[in-house]
């Protein structure tokens, strides 16, 4: 074998090695990403790392207008969360914390989000403590606004969220305060009556 032939052979081996290294790395990254995407609960998975946000650099939270006639949105900067699941959790927590503008809160004081998960059908399960029901002030319209603010805030900002199922202490409930049917997931359309007509 001439020196030039040896040089060509070494070059082709180097190229093959580099290609093999890149291929192995790609397989490892792919397997890892699949493993990371799997959730701890059987039948349910938390949101993945991408694909959930609406593409906006802010989210809309829905609170009660000052005249009580319906919900108005409040613009918030993008929440600092690494996953969609965490963003959803922070969105609900911001609703619990209440508005920063001249609007009124929709969730009773003492309400805590115990858990949140997103299933394969795009249903967000919100598991609250009993305060969301027991400390609710009541009234048909007020209850509509409570439920509507949760559903609208989650479905308006995250395309993959098709519906919201409210649970109390891990169990499904008929209503929060005797009026709104929360036995099954509620969609954005099902709760739009809570929006104020002039909502931005």
């Amino acid at each position: 074998m001439s020196p030039s032939e040896r040089k060509r052979e070494r070059g082709s081996r180097g190229l093959f090695g580099a290609f093999l290294t890149v291929l192995i790395l790609a397989i490892v990254v792919g397997v890892l990403s699949v493993l990371v995407g799997r959730g701890p609960r059987s039948g349910l998975r938390p949101a993945g790392e991408e694909g959930g946000s609406s593409g906006r650099d802010s989210i809309l939270l829905f609170f009660v207008a000052q005249d009580g006639s319906g919900l108005q949105s409040e613009d918030r900067g993008l929440l600092q969360a690494s996953t969609v699941r965490e963003t959803l959790r922070q969105t609900v927590q911001e609703l619990i914390n209440g508005p920063r503008q001249a609007l009124l809160g929709t969730l009773p004081r003492g309400t805590q989000l115990l858990d949140l998960f997103l299933d394969d059908q795009g249903i967000v399960f919100l598991n609250f403590n009993k305060a969301i029901s027991e400390d609710h002030p009541g009234g048909v319209w007020t209850e509509i606004l409570t439920v509507s603010s949760l559903v609208q805030s989650l479905t308006s900002n995250f395309e993959l969220v098709r519906g919201v199922q409210i649970l109390i202490e891990g169990r499904p409930a008929e209503t929060l305060a005797g009026h709104v049917d929360i036995r099954r997931p509620l969609t954005r359309a099902a709760t739009e009556m809570g929006l104020k007509a002039t909502s931005s």
Binding site: G68, S69, L104, I123, G138, G139, W141, T142, H179, V180
Partner: protein, 291 residues
Amino acid sequence: MDFSNVSQGAGLHSPRARSHMRLALSRARLFSAILVALGLFFFSTGVWAQAPEGPGELRIEDLPDARSRPTQPVVPLDTIVLDAGHGGLDKGVRGPSGLLEKDVTLRLAQHLSTLLRARLGARVIQTRTEDVSLPVSERTSLANNAKAQLFISIHLEGSSLRDTEGFRLYTSRSAPSGEAAVGGVGSEGTNGLDAILWDLAQTGFSNESARLAELMADSLQRGVGLRRAGIAKAPLFILSGARMPAVVVSPAHLTNAREELLLQDEAFLQKVAENLYEAILNFAEGRDVAE
């Protein structure tokens, strides 16, 4: 017949004929003068405009109220179910001075029940007649089992805004077919199917329910002078399973001090009941709200 003599006018020129003609002319003038005098008299006194006409000649403006003409099918109301919201441990909204929603809804249901029995002759079933807890689904089932033609659930509004006032009315928001497919914890197996069928029960009555709600809103606004806070279609559990026209009526805000004071007054509740009765009567007789 031969007209030759008449055309020649021989008879008309006779003295007797001329005398007859003069007499006839003078009678005609007299008759005309009397008619003109009578016309002037009725016109000047306005009697003409107000004079009643025959029974078959009623004009639209003579009707007591043009909006009361039936435009919808008549709905026979043999059985009506009245639901006094909340009860027992479930107190509902609490007013500033401590008045409870569960007590007001019961009193109002009793006022309305008395009117419907006495005036409409209907069989009225109340979901509760005392201060007891009753699951929401049992209230609707009671109406379904009684094969009622109308289901009215009475509630009150509450708000953290103390000056919010007025009445609200609700009908069921039927879920479109696409929404029914959205899953959830209760969506699998028989329970899920039952829930969907329960939800669809009210679908066929949405137009009638909406008409009743409009009639009630009109009646409460005109008759009681309450502020119309709104009518909404909403996913309310109490309405979704009802197999008859069904509405939730919230006549006032208990958290508003002025309206709480009104709700303590039996005369006010009687007035609200009278106007709800009026709306139910209009509904039964196929009347609509005037545009």
